[in-house]
Symmetry: C3
Subunit: 265 residues, 3 copies
Amino acid sequence: MHPQSIHSCFTSFRTQAPLVHNITNFVAMSTAANVLLAAGASPAMVHAQTEAPEFVRLSHALTINIGTLSPDWLDSMLTTAQVAHEQNIPWVLDPVAVGATAYRLQSCERLLAFKPDVIRGNASEILALAGMSSQSRGPDSGDTVEAAKFAAEALTEHAKVVVVTGEVDWVTDGTQQWSVHHGVPMMTRVTAIGCALTALIGGFIGSNRDNLTGAVISALCYYGQAGELADKAAKGPGSFYVEFLDALYHLDADQVSNNAKVTII
Amino acid sequence: MHPQSIHSCFTSFRTQAPLVHNITNFVAMSTAANVLLAAGASPAMVHAQTEAPEFVRLSHALTINIGTLSPDWLDSMLTTAQVAHEQNIPWVLDPVAVGATAYRLQSCERLLAFKPDVIRGNASEILALAGMSSQSRGPDSGDTVEAAKFAAEALTEHAKVVVVTGEVDWVTDGTQQWSVHHGVPMMTRVTAIGCALTALIGGFIGSNRDNLTGAVISALCYYGQAGELADKAAKGPGSFYVEFLDALYHLDADQVSNNAKVTII
Amino acid sequence: MHPQSIHSCFTSFRTQAPLVHNITNFVAMSTAANVLLAAGASPAMVHAQTEAPEFVRLSHALTINIGTLSPDWLDSMLTTAQVAHEQNIPWVLDPVAVGATAYRLQSCERLLAFKPDVIRGNASEILALAGMSSQSRGPDSGDTVEAAKFAAEALTEHAKVVVVTGEVDWVTDGTQQWSVHHGVPMMTRVTAIGCALTALIGGFIGSNRDNLTGAVISALCYYGQAGELADKAAKGPGSFYVEFLDALYHLDADQVSNNAKVTII
């Protein structure tokens, strides 16, 4: 990934200020909205079957996160994902804790039918979604990113880009692979930081439709660098979240692209 | 608006610590509760049809916000608004993104039948609610406050006071108009700051039933001044929210009334 | 309560990093998750009837909080509490504003049938749950802890441990009583601090099944001390919440046990 590509994707995101439609979980809603606003996008949380399929047509991207899934929300996720797919509105699937219950796995399998542009999960989620065995007991990963690479590759049958986030992030489009070396452990001690990354990836692909992998990698570099800056200034998870939003707000295209640590495999 | 009136409304709010019943959206719940607590009121979020119409009778005011609307919540909003109207409990309508979907507009039209005491929205929302054309694509305003003045006037057919918030806030009771010159752009980079203002307006009208416009204008002055103080101390949207709650907690009747910038038109 | 017991309970909590399954209210979800993560546990919010009874079997503890109750959530709470009871997974009931509506009281009475290990509420909630008269009008307590002691005792018919939180916290197992002298008034000016304590108590009992009262008292000492540290550093409720999460993250077994102020009655 050439720095110039990251610069271009970031600039496109900031210039377009994409409207990102999120059907996400109750824990993450406020954090995802704050991350998108701090970064420069326009978040919308619209979940009801009565309007989500209509609203998504106005949006630059859709993100679906199953963190607090229930049957009526699933119906709406399915209908809205179908509209996004048919209208060529890019969308991201975040299969939170998909390995924890049969209901989550079945629901994600139904969502995969509408071909997400991007799947983002931790290693345990990517393993479980690919039908492979995982060590996780809940929403936190019990597996290494390394262990999930084969699973990520398998999932490119369903999605254009698959992202495994962890100590080092892993990105694959089924042909080429990238590793992104950003972020800090404190990001796992604040709730919904992973879910909010999914929302941000929505914003990046919505404003860079002709360069999905560049958009995803740019979002990862940006997010991880904000985490690194926040970690230097923070005393603990409370102050980390505050500093993190401030860093997302201040980082610019030059900083993000010049400091990007991306390895092409 | 004489400073003395603002001083009196603010003092009444702080003395009564009103119980504010909010049926609001999932993104705003925590922020609205924190704003009310920092300001000195007692927030309650109660939404189910099984108890909201009962709970509102205990409350000093009701606020209804359609940010994450769905059919079962709408049923409860309608019943609860009806009880508030019949019991003379003042209530505020916040028509979030009303122009975005047909469902939102129809729902708001049904809610207007129960005569909200106050309607608060951004320019695009006020335009859409009045049936006029708006430039907005989602929850953020795409129109100027200036462009929404005529729409605000039209909506006084349904509500005693209509508020258009933006760079300069606009308040009308159908006879007289006021502009409130407070606030900072950073308030648009933190989620639910507008929704939480609606909750605060609920607290102010609940503790100043005989002076609705004074209550609304006092809430706007207080909120905007807290934003200005926070903006001086903050580095970005993360620290802004922290400083904003601290400022709401510390501002007093003297400060708010002495520094109020209100113009009677 | 010997300091050694608190040290042991705290160490067990930190070592096990328990998975805590919470069915809690919309306002508290993010805060409860952040408190558990800062403290060192693993939170999960899973509420749907389709999976909550399955998910609880993976968890070290369950917490049920009726803050934003509705019929479909209640069904799931009942089924999940039943599974927890049958599987000997310890669970906590938080009867938020139980005295405010008939629906809340009836719902809590149904939940009590599944024998919570711990009930935690403010004085007004404990009084109302025990069928005694309370001064509260909403979610905030209108009664003193002193006034609720008899009610707490009565509730030990349904739960192994009953906790009344307030200026001084009161704990009873029906035989012995303890008072815990920690915490600061600012904890009542930030939303969901009480609800998040319930989640933390879940984590402590899930990692100390053979010492429920020790676990509960340790959680109260830890939480209250974090509040005291935060209060020294904070300027208002916004900065208090930030400092509070940081303090939860940094406090260790030595500090919490050495500074514990617990009186055995």
